[in-house]
């Protein structure tokens, strides 16, 4: 797997752009897909948005000024594409409908093979507000540093820490309440 700098260097050559993009795909296609999938839940939606993300990256990579890491720049595009996708749907469908469809994908999709605990965790994450969901996913599943997350979500580190803290607290409450109800 190529280093980001090598990818950028190759992309800056006259004839090496496609090769560089192939390296970039090799390195980032799966992480980006999983990131988008955790936001959109549906496999088909995540497929479409991932493709759009990489087409956008292809079109704008020549303007990438290296003011942030390539990795966080890519994640920012993927995150924005995912949020735009949801916002476009919100113009035609209610948020309740979109969320219930996401929940449905967790229970009825062929492409969810997690165990009960994983399903419950995903269902609980879906109850969080959008920003907290994003922060929780990036921290919990991807172990992203707050400084990097700050570049991706364009939010201060302090606010991100607060969001993560709130998200964990809400999820703990949910699971504690569920456990208490079972007793």
């Amino acid at each position: 797997m190529k280093e980001d700098q090598e990818i950028l260097q190759q992309f800056s050559t006259d004839t090496g752009q496609v090769k560089a993009f192939e390296w970039l795909l090799e390195k980032y296609q799966k992480p980006v897909y999983w990131h988008v999938r955790r936001i959109l839940i549906s496999h088909d939606d995540a497929d479409d948005v991932t493709q759009n993300t990489f087409i956008k990256i292809w079109k704008s990579l020549s303007q990438f000024k290296q003011e942030s890491k390539l990795y966080t720049w890519i994640y920012r595009i993927a995150t924005n594409e995912s949020i735009n996708f949801i916002n476009q749907r919100k113009q035609h469908q209610s948020l309740e409908f979109i969320e219930s469809e996401m929940l449905n994908h967790l229970t009825a999709s062929n492409y969810f093979d997690g165990n009960d605990i994983q399903r419950k965790l995903q269902e609980a994450i879906l109850t969080l507000p959008e920003k907290q969901r994003l922060v929780f996913n990036l921290k919990y599943f991807e172990n992203m540093k707050y400084e990097e997350m700050s570049e991706v979500l364009e939010t201060s580190v302090g606010a991100l820490k607060a969001s993560y803290h709130l998200a964990v607290k809400k999820l703990s409450h949910l699971f504690t309440n569920e456990a208490a109800l079972k007793k």
Partner: protein, 146 residues
């Protein structure tokens, strides 16, 4: 190849393949990290090829058609407006739409999107639509200029 087995500490005589725990750890971590989501077999390879085919396209294709073939206009409008465009070809279950005019027509009729029919000239920048047009349209009806 002969598989190597080891007796780890606490195994009480049971054996496991020598790389078993490393493999198991890798699999579990992978699964946990994806949060339980999975994808169809060979999905990433197919998606990579699709993305590469989308960037490896001529930048513009102009299509002039002599007869008012309504669905070309519909398809072109949807593609150009970005409402359906890539979606038609990128979702695996809809790829069959590339096969026949009838299937595309049926799909387009099923959409609720407002349709503007383009009657004369269509300028298309989407490689996927080029593909559909070239594969499915009667060449006599078209003058295609690359």
């Amino acid at each position: 190849m002969e598989e190597k087995y080891t007796k780890p500490n606490g195994s009480e005589g049971f054996q496991v393949p020598s790389d078993f725990f490393e493999q198991q750890k890798h699999q579990l971590l992978h699964k946990i990290n994806q949060g339980g989501f999975s994808v169809p077999k060979s999905f990433f390879e197919d998606q990579k090829n699709l993305i590469l085919s989308r960037i490896d396209a001529p930048k513009k294709l102009k299509v002039y058609y002599n007869k008012p073939i309504i669905w070309i206009g519909i398809a072109a409008t949807l593609f150009c407006s970005g409402l359906v465009g890539y979606y038609v070809i990128s979702s695996p279950q809809k790829q069959s739409l590339q096969l026949t005019n009838q299937q595309i027509e049926n799909y387009l009729i099923d959409t609720d999107i407002d349709i503007e029919i383009i009657a004369q000239t269509v300028s298309i920048e989407d490689n996927d639509l080029q593909h559909i047009l070239l594969e499915n349209i009667n060449q006599d009806d078209l003058l295609i200029e690359l």
